[in-house]
């Protein structure tokens, strides 16, 4: 019954790992562990990119794997961890919705994504086509995390997870984007995190907290 080549199987396992990490991030309450999970997601992404590069013989994907490794596993988590320590937001408050409900919604999203991807992946020809559904699910779950979290730091983490999902979708369906775009995105993300970091300090200065509920007060009535 193992008609699939080994590399594809391995890729499936990595994709499944990515999804698993997404769910773990959805349920994790502590910001510091969230960052660690994000780094793991980056690591899995690196591995999958390497795998695709090796099986499809696409040298430019090696570069993008290296880029992923440095930015998503090394630089960004380091920055975020520093930020968490300096801001003193070790612990996230409860998510807006309770965790089992959140997971149930996540499950519904996964069904939605998988169902949506089934016809599309039947059309695609790449060896990695079946993972599109998972990539889609990772994106949707990251979005869910953005919605369900309160504090600003976790918002950034959710944003980065979203980017991870997009990146995985790109590599799994079309063997990655052109190098220029990838570099651009990496730079964007990096700058984005810096800007966010500065914002956080400003927000905290203003409200003495990073809880996004305080931002609701900015609305004009």
């Amino acid at each position: 019954m193992s008609a699939l080549p080994f590399a594809t199987q391995l890729l499936h396992v990595l994709a499944a790992g990515l999804l698993l990490l997404s769910f773990a991030m959805l349920t994790q309450r502590r910001t510091r562990r969230l960052v660690v999970l994000l780094a793991w997601q980056g690591a899995v992404l690196t591995a999958s990119t390497l795998l695709i590069a090796a099986t499809a013989h696409l040298p430019h994907l090696y570069w993008s794997a290296a880029l992923t490794l440095t930015v998503k596993v090394g630089l960004l988590p380091w920055l975020l961890l520093r930020l968490v320590r300096r801001l003193g937001v070790e612990r996230d408050s409860e998510p807006l919705v309770n965790v089992p409900t959140l997971m149930l919604v996540g499950l519904a999203l996964v069904i939605f994504a998988f169902g949506l991807a089934q016809p599309i992946s039947a059309l695609a020809t790449t060896v990695t086509r079946q993972t599109l559904g998972i990539a889609l699910a990772v994106i949707l779950l990251a979005f869910l995390m953005l919605i369900a979290r309160r504090t600003a730091v976790t918002q950034v983490i959710g944003f980065l997870a979203l980017e991870n999902g997009l990146f995985f979708a790109a590599t799994s369906t079309t063997y990655g984007m052109p190098m220029v775009i990838e570099l651009g995105i990496a730079l964007d993300v990096l700058v984005g995190v810096f800007v966010f970091g500065i914002f956080f300090f400003q927000i905290r200065e203003q409200f003495d907290s990073l809880d996004l509920q305080h931002l609701e007060a900015l609305k004009e009535d």
Binding site: I111, F114, G115, Q118, P119
Partner: protein, 667 residues
């Protein structure tokens, strides 16, 4: 046309039921005559009905038809006995026999309606249920259906002096009629303009798909109302506890099954399957009901309400099986459809056995203690060992534990779900297997509910001093309970016999029969390598290991016992009030599924000198769905009431105006 070899004696037996009922009117006030003589005879008749129903399940049984010269001119009653009606007759007979035996010992002097009248209503109820499954035209079906509803209404309202019971009876009657209305409309659609009311004509007539769907939805609504499918369930937890226990057992164990029969007859036989979304809809409603029933049962504090909610759960599981069968049949997967259908049928049979058993057991408890609130019971295993033992069988069976019967149907249902990924449809092949997750969760919750039910009633210490005087059930009651318990064990131990009984039905409705297992006690419905289960061997294994363990412990060591006060972590002043109450036992469920309930709580403050704790858990459907409907109906009624002037001249004016308008339109 075949000579009605089976139908004629069957009809005779039904007539005997009616005569037994009528015989009660000879001495309506004599409990001895009605209960001790007529009810056991009714039980014998029920056995006969079961035997003939069982005969219709044999291989190669050709459906029997008979036209009775009764009814309206040009609208004679048509009867038909086939495998499907045979199965439900067998169910009716087997469970009905146990209930009648129990009822013989149960009914006593001075409980509401006179015993003679009660006997009449009871036997009419039984006979009408038998006629529902035998009817072969819409006319007889509706007559029998309405007779069933009315006779059961009178039985529910036996103790009509209590306002809550009158209210429950009214709600039941109302819902029954709303459902019956839907069925009337359904048959109206089904005849397809031919005005032929026989089922044969409906079976042959090809409806356009849109009208077929309308008919199916009406049938689902009508039968769902009777079955207590969420959100049409509201009458069920009110009516079941209001009725005397044997009647609750009949309603829950038997009457709900006629709704399952009706849905199978209309959905899978008359409409022959139809679109796939029918099955999906039925399955989704079934799964929802199963979850809902289980969760609500866990927080109940009245033992009969708990069982009523558990009925909703079980009906949900049955509908899940039926829906899955329809879904698979629509995709042309006949073997799978047969498996799901068999699971649903066997679960219906099982539910008739164990739910009747448990309702009857609550009846015994009620008689012995005059209490039905779980908060005031406890420790009855020591006062009522017989009832406790037999109820334990029912409890384990309904919790779906091997090697009893509840497990068999759950096993079959899970096996059916296991094959659903093969469904050739992108979304459905992903969503449907998740049904297995819900079924598993429901089954586990049922275990929770039943531990609560049994533990709070029979185990622990008596929560009220009066319980010390409780007495065990009489021998007639014991026979009834033991018969049902025996059924639970038999189906669990000989699952292949039950599976064989469904073969005719699956052949007719799903187009194929299941693979036969290697022995009566061994089932392997799909393929032996895929799955097989043997209840008898499992039971033998369990008994064997337990016996060996017992003997070894006794031989190698000793059996010395010293009786002491309970240890209780060294705290000696133990009182019954320290035990968990029913509310306490349901608390985790209340907390986990909090948003499902509508909870009103009154919690004392820490400084209260006379602390009071009160909690009320309500159904959200009642407040969100039914009360608005009631409001709307009342609003419309108020608006129409403007017409009511109370003066004759005005009323005559209405008639006159109507006449004018009609003349203008017609001429």
């Amino acid at each position: 046309m075949n000579a009605p070899m089976h139908l004629a004696p069957l009809l005779g037996l039904i007539a005997v039921w009616l005569m037994l009922g009528a015989a009660g009117l000879v001495q309506p006030r004599s409990t001895g005559w009605v209960a001790r003589v007529l009810f056991p005879l009714g039980a014998l008749v029920a056995l006969g009905v079961a035997a003939i129903g069982g005969a219709a399940l044999a291989d190669g049984f050709a459906p029997e038809r008979w036209v009775l010269p009764l009814g309206l001119p040009d609208l004679p009653f048509h009867l038909r006995l086939d495998a499907l009606s045979g199965f439900f007759l067998a169910l009716l007979g087997v469970a009905g026999a146990g209930i009648s035996m129990f009822a013989a010992g149960y009914f006593r002097e001075g409980e509401g309606t006179a015993p003679g009248l009660l006997g009449l209503q009871y036997h009419v109820f039984l006979a009408s249920m038998a006629l529902v499954v035998l009817a072969d035209d819409a006319y007889l079906f509706m007559v029998a259906w309405e007779t069933m509803a009315l006779s059961s209404y009178f039985l529910v309202a036996t103790q009509h002096r209590i306002p809550e019971i009158r209210r429950a009876g009214f709600l039941y009657l109302l819902m029954a009629h709303v459902g019956a209305l839907a069925l009337l409309l359904c048959f109206g659609v089904l005849h397809g303009g031919s005005w032929e009311m026989t089922f044969d004509a409906m079976r042959g007539g090809a409806l356009p798909p849109a009208w077929a769907s309308v008919a199916f939805l009406l049938a689902l609504f009508g039968f769902g109302t009777k079955a207590g499918l969420v959100p049409l369930h509201v009458w069920l937890p009110e009516a079941h506890p209001a009725a005397p226990s044997p009647v609750s057992a009949m309603m829950s164990g038997l009457m709900l099954k006629t709704a399952v029969y009706g849905l199978l007859r209309v959905g899978m036989d008359l409409l022959s399957g139809g679109a796939w979304w029918w099955g999906l809809l039925a399955m989704a409603l079934g799964l929802g009901s199963a979850m809902f029933g289980a969760v609500f049962a866990a927080v109940q504090t009245d033992m009969k309400r708990l069982l009523a909610y558990s009925s909703i759960e079980n009906i949900g599981l049955i509908f899940t099986g039926v829906g899955l069968a329809m879904l698979c049949r629509a995709f042309g997967m006949h073997a799978l459809a047969a498996l799901a259908l068999a699971a649903a049928l066997i679960h219906a049979f099982n539910h008739a056995l164990f739910k009747s058993l448990l309702f009857l057991a609550t009846g015994s408890v009620l008689h012995a203690t005059r209490e039905r609130s779980l908060g005031k019971l406890g420790g009855l295993i020591r006062r009522m060992p017989w009832v406790a033992l037999l109820a334990l069988v029912g409890t384990l069976a309904i919790a779906g534990l091997p090697p009893l019967n509840g497990f068999v149907s759950e096993w079959l249902l899970l096996q059916a779900f296991l094959s659903t990924p093969a469904i050739p449809h992108a979304f459905i092949n992903m969503i449907v297997p998740l049904g297995a997750a819900v079924v598993a969760l429901t089954a586990a919750l049922a275990g929770y509910v039943m531990v609560k039910f049994y533990g709070v009633i029979f185990l622990g210490q008596p929560r009220e001093p009066s319980l010390m005087h409780a007495h065990d059930a009489g021998w007639l009651e014991r026979i009834g309970l033991a018969w049902l318990a025996l059924g639970c064990v038999a189906v669990g131990v000989l699952p292949q016999v039950a599976l064989d009984a469904t073969a005719g039905v699956t052949q007719a409705l799903a187009g194929t029969a299941l693979q036969r297992g290697p022995a009566p006690w061994w089932i392997a419905p799909v393929a032996t390598a895929q799955a097989s289960y043997s209840g008898l061997w499992l039971l033998a294994g369990m008994l064997g290991v337990v016996a060996v363990t017992f003997v070894l412990v006794r031989r190698l060591y000793h059996g010395r016992v010293r009786r002491t006060p309970p240890w209780n972590c060294g705290y000696p002043w133990l009182t019954p009030r320290m035990q968990d109450t029913a509310e306490g036992f349901g608390q985790p469920i209340r907390r986990i599924f909090g948003p499902v309930f509508r909870i009103e709580r009154e919690v004392p403050s820490p400084t209260d000198s006379a602390p009071r704790y009160r909690i009320r858990i309500d159904d959200r459907f009642w407040h969100a769905l039914y009360l608005p409907i009631v409001g709307a109906v009342r609003g419309v009624a108020d608006a129409v009431a403007v017409l009511q002037r109370g003066r004759l001249a005005v009323y005559l004016l209405y008639s006159f105006l109507t006449l004018i308008v009609l003349l203008v339109f017609v001429l």
